[in-house]
């Protein structure tokens, strides 16, 4: 049940992102995705392998759930959040959007625990919520930096491409 479910969620998230209006270009989205991915991956490795606050599954099939959650779902949700956020103007709508995505990410966390993909040792849903909040805010920060760099049209050597 776990593997078909995570695959379905991944495909749907990819499909929604593809159809979604995007404020960021493909290049900007790629940069946000890769930076987030590196952060999420390092955090996951530190929490599971080094600090051992979370115990990951030893089951190879369930490990695919863990990988898809870490490598695709989390950064995809953040990309969806960022692209939607940048299209909104009202603070109320932005706050609501933030809460919706935080709930979705917490839901994924719940599913991972429910299916035995991860087991909390010295970790809980509140910590997970704080970490997910940080991911969403970092995603927003990186996207704004890429927008700024693109708006300024900065060339690699610091000169401007466009005038």
């Amino acid at each position: 049940m776990a593997l078909p479910l995570i695959t379905t969620i991944t495909i749907m998230a990819l499909f929604i992102l593809w159809l979604h209006d995007k404020k960021l270009s493909f290049l900007q989205n790629s940069i946000v995705f890769m930076v987030l991915e590196i952060i999420v991956r390092n955090n996951a490795t530190l929490l599971t392998m080094e600090l051992k606050w979370i115990d990951p599954t030893e089951n190879s099939f369930l490990n695919i759930f863990f990988l898809m959650h870490r490598e695709i779902i989390t950064p995809l949700f953040i990309l969806l959040f960022v692209n939607s956020y940048l299209l909104l103007f009202s603070l109320r709508k932005k706050t609501l959007l933030f809460l919706i995505f935080l709930t979705l990410m917490q839901g994924m966390e719940y599913l991972a625990v429910y299916f035995g993909v991860i087991k909390y040792v010295e970790w809980n849903y509140v910590y997970a919520m704080l970490l997910n909040t940080a991911y969403l805010l970092i995603g927003l920060g990186i996207s704004k930096i890429t927008l700024l760099l693109d708006k300024n049209g900065v060339h690699q050597n610091g000169s401007r491409i466009r005038t």
Binding site: L27, S30, R41, T45, E50, S60, Q156
Partner: protein, 165 residues
């Protein structure tokens, strides 16, 4: 359980540090042919995929190899992933410089795959990689091919989306 292979600061550490510093310096001084965002993306690509495979097949439950002096995650491990950044940057840099097109893509990718295999082999000799469970260096061959072909596709998508705007 943490496996410690050695505790000395020797060739594997110097290989990573010199690799990161020197190659990043080359990126910095090389004539600019990409925009800043493109350069960031092409540099990140190597870090992203290097880290992806190492954090996937070199950790439990697969755990096919360890990186550097111990199986624990260290700062030097992180730097060794950063070292992939200049490789992916220069992969596209020379791709554009040499105007690689059509079937020339094949020898180009194969040449870089040989470079990757050679770098990996050096990594094994100096204790950067420690293989387990029968994993061999040539197992990385399809990974190198896949990542490099995907990077060419990545470059063309970016180029096409830029041309269309």
């Amino acid at each position: 359980m943490v496996v410690v292979y050695e505790r000395e600061f020797d060739w594997n550490e110097w290989f990573v540090i010199i690799g990161v510093v020197l190659l990043s310096l080359f990126v910095w001084v090389a004539p600019k042919i990409f925009s800043l965002l493109e350069s960031i993306a092409f540099y990140l690509y190597g870090v992203f995929f290097g880290m992806f495979f190492d954090h996937t097949i070199s950790v439990r439950p697969w755990d096919f190899y360890d990186v550097n002096d111990s199986s624990a995650y260290q700062l030097i491990d992180f730097l060794s992933y950063v070292m992939y950044g200049p490789y992916s940057y220069f992969f596209l840099y020379f791709y554009v410089k040499f105007r690689i097109k059509g079937f020339l893509n094949i020898p180009y990718v194969l040449a870089w795959t040989c470079i990757s295999l050679l770098t990996g082999w050096i990594g094994v000799q100096i204790g950067l990689f420690h293989f387990e469970k029968g994993y061999n260096h040539y197992w990385s061959l399809p990974i190198y091919l896949f990542v490099q072909i995907l990077q060419i596709a990545f470059y063309h998508i970016i180029k096409n989306s830029k041309d269309s705007t």
